[in-house]
């Protein structure tokens, strides 16, 4: 009773899905450890470090979508990918616009607010 009798195809699917989660976990772990390790143990110039952190974060987000949420480029899943990409477009316009306008305002009127 503990194992459902799996057909051959299901068994193959199971091991490939298990591998997916393990790969996702491994990659996410590495991509978390790199920025934390660099921030904790090295004296890198902060400019380069910001770039490394940003790149690791973006890759890790893609890894989570691909391996944990199973969003792939396969044809039968296009609708969901489109939903996500459209959300990203809206976000880019709204967040990008906010940052652009406010930092321009700071630059012209409140230089103290520039970090």
């Amino acid at each position: 009773m503990s194992h459902r009798q799996l057909s051959e195809q299901e068994a193959r699917e199971k091991s490939s899905e298990l591998r997916t989660y393990l790969w996702g976990f491994g990659l996410a772990l590495v991509l978390t450890l790199i920025p934390f390790g660099l921030a904790a143990y090295t004296q890198m110039a902060s400019g380069t470090l910001y770039i490394v952190i940003a790149v690791c974060a973006v890759i890790q987000i893609v890894v989570h979508f691909r391996f944990f949420l199973h969003i792939t480029l396969a044809k039968n899943k296009r609708e969901d990918l489109q939903l996500i990409l459209f959300t990203v477009l809206i976000l880019a316009i709204m967040v990008g616009g906010t940052l652009w306008i406010l930092f321009n305002l700071y630059y012209r009127m409140m230089p103290d607010m520039l970090p």
Binding site: M1, F36, A40, A57, L69, L91, M113
Partner: protein, 220 residues
């Protein structure tokens, strides 16, 4: 318990099972309500994406407020790398254990394995919340209260909102465990678990943004 698998005539190799909705599909062995599940999971994705826009704009607000410490404590004094790292690990491992629970739901009939993975996930989630609350408490004692500056106001609207989502997800998980105990793993529980898995993995994605931008960005 035996399962008969239907093989389609005319196909030499078995065709790939149809994908009904984004995320992990439970497959033909859980056919009973695949069609309603398709709508509910897709609807949940739409909700999740609207939530993503909410978080994205709070991230934007936080960045515009980075300079507005008004003489109060800034990110360098308030944030600790170690506690951010512990919280990140707790959430990442819980995301993985939830994945294991989803696989147990898909491929096993006994609920023991499923319930054990769900309990591990719940404990990791609660551990994350406890650690985050302890962190906020420490920030409060150092004068980092929301009313101190624009920077702290935006911090406390972004990070605790994520914590609130995790709290909601934990309550939902407890409710599902109760339903499993009373009704067993029926089709409603399966559909709830699929949606909660999406929420859980999604909250981990939001946390990637928080630890990268807020904690690492603030400390460096």
């Amino acid at each position: 318990m035996t399962m008969t698998t239907k093989t389609q005539p005319g196909h030499a190799s078995p065709a790939k099972p149809r994908v009904h909705h984004p995320g992990l599909n439970l497959g033909p062995a859980h056919q009973e309500s695949e069609d309603t599940r398709e709508e509910m999971v897709f609807g949940f994705w739409v909700f999740m994406m609207s939530d993503l826009i909410l978080f994205g704009l709070l991230f934007g607000t936080y960045v515009t407020m980075l300079g507005g410490t008004a003489g109060g404590p800034g990110p360098g004094e308030l944030f600790e790398l170690k506690s951010a790292f512990i919280e990140t690990m707790l959430l990442l491992i819980s995301s993985f254990t939830f994945g294991m629970a989803s696989l147990a739901l898909k491929y096993r009939n006994d609920r023991k394995v499923l319930v054990i993975w769900l309990l591990v996930t719940l404990l990791l989630g609660l551990g994350f919340l406890a650690h985050e609350l302890y962190d906020f408490h420490k920030m409060f004692t150092e004068g980092g209260v929301p009313s101190r500056s624009g920077f702290l106001s935006s911090f406390f609207s972004l990070v605790p909102l994520h914590g609130l989502h995790v709290t909601g997800a934990c309550i939902w998980l407890i409710a599902i465990l109760g339903q499993i105990a009373v009704y067993g793993v029926d089709s409603f529980v399966k559909s709830s678990l699929l949606r909660l898995a999406i929420l859980w993995h999604f909250l981990d994605i939001v946390w990637i943004g928080i630890f990268s931008l807020v904690y690492l960005g603030g400390i460096v």
